[in-house]
Subunit: 553 residues, 2 copies
């Protein structure tokens, strides 16, 4: 793949400034560099063009002796008008160093490097940042207090899924994963940066180099998919591993999917959860230096942090602080628990990522944390023996609706039993379940109904969310309501749509709907009274799991 | 109905000793008394025969002037061998006083009365208590710490329902209610003693006499089924009201149904919840004096006690103390809440009666209270607008199963919309729903499987209850389990039955089932290992809401 293809493929996401060093190992640089590339490693007047929220990359040749990961520092200051952004570079192996930058403003930018190595120091250049291309909305940030949107103001409502191993899993499962994702409603995916065991499928690469004493024959002895006695030199990162991950990050970006990057996790067979604090911090800074320029990256400091018994709460707080300090773009930051909920009110958490499905506690959590909440693990659709992995598609659909009317977001997962050797969806592979079309239905409905997200009506008699006097989305959950006098506000006219979330049908009701008072949202005792200009009474199906949407006309 | 018919009808429940005073007003005494009856009100040598846990009644003529409810005291001591039981009598109107007694031991009993009125004082007699007839198992008491049984040792597992107004509602709804109950699995019914509004259906009687100044014309002005300006003299109980209730108590007894008598409640249109403490206490003692000899009576001090804003916690505690002191038989005692759970660890509570459906908290509640728990209001099957009244039959069935595998009990209720003027089942009338056959299925299954009730396995991976090494009842709730290695104990052989609670099917699996260890009941990590003498692995349907029963062979 050449540079032109890369830029096209990445929808403007990835541009490589000159000078460019091409390596056979680099997954994007198998082919000869674009004819426009000149390997002018010593030049100062590097030029380029990159779209807003694309990746401008400076590649420099530098020292390869010793341990460049430890011994060489590299950074650059990027300048645009009055602003300066400091960006850390990284060693990409074979004597190549890179600095990646995601410009957030159009216009002229320049940069100059600083390094402990003379060959990398004082390099400068400039480029022009052009408008974002279609489909590039920039990174996602918190908006409207409890919601999200893209940097360009486009609404973004997370409807995530879980494919922990997608970034590092071997073929053909990576291709299956991205094909399923493209065919799904999911616009966020929870993916691990450090590897998880892949059974007999094995792993193409590891994030660290094998220790010097570890023979290659030794390395080939696979047990359960990983070298049985593998030892790693955790002071030496393996750039090929990270290049692999980046290729998949770009695939996600092309598909319009945010990558919720899980930086640490407890599912470790190789000792990566037992590195020294220095090694942890170096790995973390390295990952941020490599990945932060990808606009679709979120930082999930850990999955099930409280199951990582080798680390303390102080470690997790430190990782957050390092992330805040190292990421020039303030990508979203969260941490995910197993049993012990992290204090998401801490200032470095941009939102809460929960393993819960007690959505009725959302209001008190919002009050405590004042941030968006994503219920990132609400148990999985499937049929395995583990109790977190055998929800019906109906129950998953229900939980997504409950999340919505509690003003929060949910993430999907799936663990149907697979043929021997094949991964379950929550690792990657093929999506088998039937909740995802229902989630697509909900996502489309929400995106049609609001630009800013729906907030829970906390005192509502039935779960409902929206915006007062404009939008009311009711979800009746298990209640088989036969009729209901909706406590709509007086003086506002609404159209009403009956929604069947499972059968994915909508039926707009004839007439205009309005209410008697703007007071209590509890059930109205005076049913059936005449209301000026409409009614608040609706005959419902008496079936469970139905919804009603009121939109101001 | 004559006395012989009464005894037959009541299955030995009700006998009237001589002398007997017959009143046209008394529902059981419309016909002439039995030819054996002599109105020897002054005699001392009264004889009779009554079966164990039947009702022996002494009727005496006494003063009717003034206010007998306040001015006349009456009690009797019943003696059997070394024991003496003190029993309070009551004024039944028209100059008749009664003392009712439920003997709990066969053999010879004698009694002597004490009264402030000379005509009632010093009356004595004796009777023989014979063995209980078939179907008479005596009153229900707590047994096996968290369960119940009849006095004769017969197991009793409460599967209750709710028909608040059955005791006082007008025809034909009373007949509809009892007919539905007889056709149902319910062996306990929650019924109010003080009246609830009956809409246009009206009430046949009130528990207190109308105040002297209240004209009869005035009384006829009905609004919403009760006298619009009715005022009552709450110092004068109305015996006809209580006679009506007693007739229905006996109907329940004949049908094998325990009457969970709600003594106070907030659903009051007449001021009965705002009586003085003296009036409250007098009413309470009167109800106990009349009803305590009915073996199928339980005392529910209140329904939704915390909604009765006219009373304090000290009042409820006092009512409990009065009940303990006044009831010679220690019938079961509980109190039911709306939002604020009563402290059921108080010594006068025999069990907890809850308005909840968070069954997962049962273990901590058992630990706190050390008593049986009946979730007496788990919301109702139906389709009304109120959120407590529109569960699907599936959800009600699910909640009964959840209660069972959490080692507790549940009560049913139903609020399907009815034709105008007809009551909903939770008041009385016709049972319309389809959860009741499923509850019958569960009740039969439980009664076949255990004599002493099932206890929750609190650390179980999936909800389950039973008795260790003997009985394991699993309910998988919403989990669509495709296969599972059950953590059965080693060295014990079980038969296994797959149960579909909704379709009411059972299928015994071929083979013998046993486990590998007696250790953790959490999911076994070493699935598929060979186990000596059987297997712990079962392929399940992958459908939700399934159950599996293991019984020692």
């Amino acid at each position: 793949m050449n540079r032109r293809e890369m830029m096209k493929l990445g929808a403007g996401a990835f541009a490589t400034s000159l000078p460019l060093v091409a390596h056979a190992e680099h997954p994007f640089r198998d082919a000869a560099p674009d004819s426009g590339a000149t390997a002018d490693q010593g030049g100062d007047a590097v030029q380029g063009t990159i779209e807003q929220w694309g990746i401008f990359e400076v590649a420099l040749a530098g020292p390869s002796e010793g341990n460049p990961f430890i011994q060489v520092t590299l950074s650059a200051e990027f300048r645009h008008q009055h602003r300066t952004v400091s960006v850390t570079g990284f060693y990409d192996g074979n004597g190549t160093y890179r600095i990646r930058f995601m410009p957030d403003a159009t216009g002229d930018w320049s940069y100059v490097t600083t390094s402990s190595a003379g060959a990398l120091h004082g390099k400068s250049g400039s480029f022009q940042c052009t408008s974002a291309s279609t489909g590039n909305h920039g990174p996602v940030h918190v908006a409207h207090q409890f919601h999200f949107q893209y940097a360009d103001g486009t609404p973004y409502f997370p409807f995530g899924t879980t494919t922990y191993s997608y970034l590092f899993m071997s073929e053909p499962y990576d291709l299956q994963t991205i094909a399923s994702l493209k065919d799904s409603p999911f616009n966020k995916v929870r993916v691990c940066v450090l590897p998880k065991g892949q059974g007999k499928r094995g792993l193409p690469e590891f994030p660290f180099e094998h220790a010097a004493g570890s023979s290659s024959a030794h390395r080939e002895e696979l047990k359960d998919g990983h070298p049985s006695n593998a030892t790693f030199d955790c002071d030496r990162l393996n750039p090929r591993y990270f290049q692999l991950l980046e290729r998949r990050l770009l695939e996600l970006q092309k598909a319009g999917i945010e990558a919720d990057l899980i930086l640490f996790h407890p599912y470790d067979s190789w000792g990566f959860k037992s590195m020294t604090p220095e090694q942890d911090d170096r790995y973390l800074r390295y990952a941020i230096a490599r990945f932060a320029a990808y606009r679709n990256v979120w930082w999930a400091i850990a999955n099930e942090y409280d199951l990582v018994k080798t680390k303390s709460l102080a470690d997790w707080d430190r990782f957050f602080r390092i992330t805040v300090a190292s990421d020039p773009y303030s990508h979203l930051r969260s941490i995910h628990h197993s049993k012990v909920i992290y204090d998401h009110s801490k200032p470095w958490c941009t939102h809460a990522s929960l393993q819960e499905y007690d959505f009725q506690k959302s209001a008190e959590r919002r009050a405590a944390w004042n941030k968006p909440i994503v219920y990132d693990e609400i148990q999985y659709e499937g049929n395995i023996a583990r109790r977190w992995g055998n929800l019906s598609a109906e129950e998953v659909t229900r939980r997504f609706w409950l999340a919505t009317v509690h003003g929060v977001y949910a993430s999907h997962g799936e663990t149907y039993k697979t043929p021997p050797g094949e991964p379950v969806w929550s690792d990657g592979g093929k999506l088998r379940g039937i909740s995802s079309p229902r989630i697509a239905f909900l996502r489309k409905l929400l995106e049609r109904a609001t630009q800013t997200g729906v907030n829970e009506f906390e005192d509502a008699y039935y779960p409902s969310a929206g915006k007062d006097k404009e939008l009311y989305l009711y979800y009746f959950d298990f209640h088989c309501v036969g009729e209901y006098d909706f406590p709509l506000p007086a003086g506002v006219r609404f159209k009403a749509t009956l929604i069947d979330p499972w059968n994915m049908t909508e039926r707009e009701l004839p007439g205009v709907f309005t209410g008697k008072s703007t007071g209590s949202r509890f059930v109205d005792e005076n049913a059936g009274d005449q209301i000026q200009g409409g009614t608040n009474h609706i005959e419902l199906t008496g079936k469970p799991y139905m919804a009603v949407l009121f939109q101001k006309v």
